[in-house]
Point group: C2
Chain length 102, copies 2
DNA sequence: TAAACATATGAATATCCATTCATGTGAACA
DNA sequence: TGTTCACATGAATGGATATTCATATGTTTA
């Protein structure tokens, strides 16, 4: 097994803003403005990052009037988040950690 | 669920050299020199990246005489690679793709 | 214990990319 | 149809980090 450009896929998870966006969508789909408010990032920055996440189909988007609703591509993304969470829980207690309810 | 520094964990997978190192170890554990040869990267670069991978316990290491053998922390890492492979197979046919047998 | 082999490390730099700013596009509603 | 709301985009830049180079550390063997 060899890798060509899977790095592009993983790169989406390796940035604080994008991870914040991803986790903000775990509960339910949100509009851009809702993501902006929930993650407390600039709107243009959020849009830039959303574009990358959609490109790798980590997120799906759908227009609703003026708004654009983004959702997690749960079928394949949840297992990755689960697996990553499991790793950090077992190995990275206080270093690289995903925390609940903060 | 909110994220603190899981980005550091994922960052390990988001670099070509580190991904090459990781996949070079899927089949079996290897020494540094073997990884250098298999991935065709500079020895010092490989060492730098190995350090990061070990820090997040993505790899484990064990000294054998002069050599140091690195192995995948398979219990938790395999599921992540599997899940990522599954995502790219289903969604990123020609873009962000993990390919088998080069 | 000196030499050879194997790996690690620090500093320098070169590259990449997240973020910001300014502005553009698109949809709705008065 | 012009104004407001919602989101996207291009260019510029500042900061992070991969890579390289030179050298250090650690391990074995002659």
């Amino acid at each position: 097994m060899n890798i060509h450009s899977c790095e592009h896929f993983f790169k989406n998870f390796s940035d604080r803003t994008r991870l914040a966006i991803i986790t903000s969508l775990i509960e339910k789909p949100l509009s851009v403005n809702e993501i902006v408010e929930k993650t407390r990032n600039e709107q243009s920055n959020v849009s830039h990052q959303l574009k990358k996440l959609v490109h790798c189909k980590i997120l799906l988007s759908e227009r609703q009037g003026k708004r654009k609703i983004y959702s997690l591509n749960n079928k394949t993304i949840s297992p990755i988040l689960e697996a990553a969470f499991n790793h950090t829980k077992m190995n990275c207690q206080n270093t690289c950690n995903i925390q609940k309810n903060d």
